[in-house]
């Protein structure tokens, strides 16, 4: 409740503010500022439209919170794009390869493999063979399935099939060798894989190479084998037929 003194004080205050009113001049100045601000914001949106090549008036300045949101979206898109490019490059990095086939019959197929044991590319020695390999759709298949498909396709040539598996990672290499020999054996092939014989049980020629043609290594077969069969190493002739370690440079 306001008493008389309060009422008096209120009246005095009202009188003190009686001169403080919106003058016509202040009103005119305010309207002028409003129009100037409208023109300015119109010019800004026009400049933005021209800069972006959009038709006149098509671009309106975004409010602050929208700008922040748009920036966040752009940053997220950039991060995902970088992750995508990085992931693609990571996936397509070759960490191992396997060369399988009979070099004498020009049926060597190379499978390039990534760190996830997936086939990232295939290469065949002949154009027609490449077409056949492409038809198998080995790309992106895991190596075990790719080998099974390949072994079952009959593209690897006759009974005698050699393989060379190479990887920077010894664990991966060991796995790939095991998969290769199992698949080839399963398909009735025999030969060497990284110099070690596989599928020889029925032949009784322990320690002997299977190759009938001496010195026909896939790359530089020297034919310097000392056993009954000359070596068919892909890189080096392995005449001794012993189990060689990978990358064995010993002739």
């Amino acid at each position: 409740m306001t008493d008389r003194a309060d009422e008096h004080l209120d009246k005095e205050l009202a009188a003190a503010f009686s001169d403080i009113r919106v003058s016509e001049q202040l009103k005119a100045q305010t309207m002028e500022r409003i129009h100037a601000s409208a023109v300015k914001s119109g010019q800004e949106s026009e400049t933005a439209a021209r800069a972006s090549g959009s038709p006149r008036g098509a671009v309106f300045p975004l409010p602050k919170h929208r700008k922040r949101f748009a920036f966040g979206i752009a940053a997220a898109v950039l991060v995902f794009a970088l992750l995508g490019v990085g992931g693609h490059a990571f996936y397509n990095t070759e960490t191992a390869y396997a060369q399988i086939g009979e070099s004498s019959k020009q049926t060597v197929i190379t499978l390039r493999i990534n760190r996830f044991d997936r086939v990232i590319s295939t290469q065949a020695t002949r154009g027609e063979l490449q077409d056949e390999v492409d038809a198998l759709n080995l790309k992106h298949m895991d190596y075990a399935s790719a080998m099974e498909t390949l072994a079952a396709s009959g593209l690897l040539g006759g009974e005698n099939v050699d393989a060379e598996v190479n990887s920077d990672d010894t664990a991966q290499e060991s796995d790939l060798v095991s998969i290769t020999t199992n698949c080839l054996e399963g398909a009735g092939h025999s030969g060497t894989c990284n110099g070690a014989e596989y599928g020889m049980h029925g032949h009784g020629t322990s320690g002997a190479g299977n190759g009938s043609e001496a010195g026909e290594g896939m790359h530089d077969g020297s034919g310097a084998g000392s056993g009954s069969g000359a070596g068919q190493g892909m890189h080096h002739g392995h005449g001794s037929g012993g189990v060689h370690g990978n990358h064995s440079e010993d002739e």
Partner: protein, 160 residues
Amino acid sequence: MRSDADIEDAIASYGDAVLHVCVARLSNRHDAEDAFQDTFVRYANRKEAFADEDHRRAWLLRVAMNRCKDIQRAAHSSTIPMREATDAPSPSCGGEIAERDVLLKALDRLSEEQRTALVLSAVDGYSVPEIAQMMGKRQNTVYSYITRGRRKLKKVLEHD
């Protein structure tokens, strides 16, 4: 942007109250007019519709108060005492002017909130619930601002 007629209507309806709050808060006519103009520029650029007339009035007063805070924060503002905030006195009524100057000078001693609530109540005739809506405070708080503001103002005037 809002139409000129809409803006002029807002100035006609609430312009004085906005200016009073600005003057009460800033104690400087020039800054108060700046805050007044900023408030109506923002009003002109506001695209969203108001729920009702109370909302429009409360929005205008709140924007004005916030704009005053911004101006105060900018330390460049040179504070001129309240009595310089009013228009130049006319020489014919010297006694009244002197009395008004004393009152406005005394008003400077109140807190911003007390000044705002008291001016909106005593000068513009708004009720406590209306002021509470404009200031974004509870009614009891506003009532307390007004009561304490009056008490303090009386005390200052008695001492002067």
